[in-house]
């Protein structure tokens, strides 16, 4: 068995950590785009559309992310699609993120007091004009803290992509441990890696929340 120096371990983890960051960014950006489209459709759409979107949100919120990854990877293979671990992880995490963001953002739009809708309506603004000029700007300010907060869940969620063979931080940790057998050191470093990524975001979310209260909105 070869000897691993601490630097060997750290270097390998850092290299794999890049893919954790990239996957998180893909999931978050994709999730935000899909989530925004779903939110707008859900707020203004026809009843069957709204019902479908709610079902979508409930499905993704009500099943483990791990199963979603399995379905995207192995399920797609059964159906005859040859998907890479990359594609499967990106798709599953994007859909998972979009479902949660759709629900968070719907809550933010609904949190804008009904008096704002009434005032817009009385001034003659139609639905889209009210949304654009009155409701969304206020909902957006409400949405930033919980959205940043949720991004932490996305980063930690990428760890599950290790089970379909996607080599990111966690998977790299497992592989290194198989070779070097220093579980305490290695997994502590892996955990620390996630902490380094997540902690600033948590702090930033808390800061934004305070700022929002300070501005007297809500």
């Amino acid at each position: 068995m070869t000897d691993f120096t601490l630097w060997d371990i750290v270097r390998n983890l850092l290299l794999a950590g890049r893919w954790t960051v990239v996957l998180s960014l893909i999931a978050f950006a994709g999730g935000a785009i899909v989530g925004l489209a779903l939110t707008l459709l859900r707020m203004g759409g026809l009843k069957p559309i709204r019902w479908l979107i709610r079902l979508y949100v409930d499905l993704f919120q009500g099943t483990p992310l791990l199963m979603q990854l399995f379905l995207a990877y192995f399920g797609a293979a059964v159906l005859g699609f040859d998907v890479s671990a990359w594609t499967a992880a990106s798709v599953a995490l994007t859909l998972f993120t979009s479902a949660f963001l759709c629900d968070i953002w719907r809550g933010c739009v609904e949190a804008v007091p009904s008096g704002q809708w009434q005032a817009s309506r009385v001034l003659g603004l139609n639905y889209l004009q009210s949304m654009r000029h009155v409701i969304l700007p206020q909902a957006l300010r409400l949405a930033v803290p919980p959205t940043v907060g949720f991004s932490v869940q996305v980063i930690k969620g990428t760890a599950l992509a290790s089970v379909i063979g996607f080599v990111e931080l966690t998977k790299a940790g497992t592989m290194l441990n198989n070779a070097a057998f220093a579980p305490f050191t290695i997994f502590a470093l892996v955990a620390f890696g996630y902490f380094i990524l997540c902690y600033p975001l948590s702090r930033y979310a808390r800061h934004l929340e305070k700022k929002l209260y300070g501005a007297g909105i809500r």
């Binding site: 009434q118 003659g124 007297g216």
Partner: protein, 242 residues
């Protein structure tokens, strides 16, 4: 020809019949105060007049034009009937002048410069021209309500509806808002107010309408109505509020 003409207006919320047949004619330039206990239907009547609530039966005409049942788009309605709320409902993310300019620019498509001129004019009318760049949160309740009045006036409506516009204000701030309404009344603006300010109803309005259990129970000129109420319900109401 009355400016506002309401015929046989009915409105229910589920099982509860809130308006049980309202007939009301209001002339141009008239100031009408609607009084009554909470639950008597006065706010619902007001909200039907600009279709914030859809009534179940009856018609509303403005001048010669049908106003209800989708006959007017929200855009058209807003240029005929303005409304001021108890809770102001200013847009918190916009400055005073942006609040006032929004509807003229977005709904009427008035050019920005022209909209700004109109906004400055109406803000001057309510005595708020010093605060054009302030945000609503930086203003007192009375100031916010005056901006809300200016915002409604910027659409140049024929009628202004006021739904308990002083009820959310600290007592010392009520006067400044009532003075603005008095000025508007003097200039000939048609005002329909739901109000708990009996002194104001008596001194400024041309006519007082007393609502009771979804009907207009009694109406007439304020002096007679307040000094010689005909029905026991109105007598009781006056005794309880004065």
């Amino acid at each position: 020809m009355a400016l506002v003409s309401v015929k046989d207006l009915h409105k229910s919320f589920g099982e509860l019949e809130v308006l049980k047949g309202i007939d009301l004619e209001i002339e141009a330039g008239e100031v009408v105060s609607i009084i009554g206990r909470s639950g008597s239907g006065k706010s619902t009547l007001l909200r039907c007049l600009n279709q914030l609530e859809r009534h179940d039966w009856g018609t509303i005409h403005l001048a010669d034009q049908r106003l209800d049942g989708g006959a007017m788009s929200p855009g058209e309605l807003s240029q005929n009937v303005g409304m001021v709320f108890q809770s102001f409902n200013l847009f918190p993310h916009k400055t005073v002048i942006e609040n006032v300019m929004l509807a003229p620019v977005v709904v009427k498509q008035t050019p920005k410069a022209e909209a700004r001129r109109i906004a400055e004019q109406v803000l001057d009318k309510v005595g708020m021209s010093e605060k054009v760049d302030a945000y609503p949160a930086q203003l007192s309740g009375g100031q916010q309500q005056r901006v809300a009045i200016a915002r409604a006036l910027a659409m140049n409506p024929k009628v202004l509806l006021c739904d308990e516009v002083t009820s959310a204000l600290d007592p010392e701030l009520v006067g400044e808002v009532l003075r603005v309404l008095e000025d508007l009344a003097r200039e000939g603006m048609t005002l329909i107010l739901v109000t708990h300010e009996m002194t104001f109803a008596r001194d400024v309005s041309h006519r007082v309408v007393f609502m009771h259990q979804g009907r207009i129970h009694e109406s007439g000129d304020p002096q007679t109505l307040f000094t010689q109420p005909r029905t026991p319900e109105l007598k009781q109401f006056i005794a309880s509020v004065v």
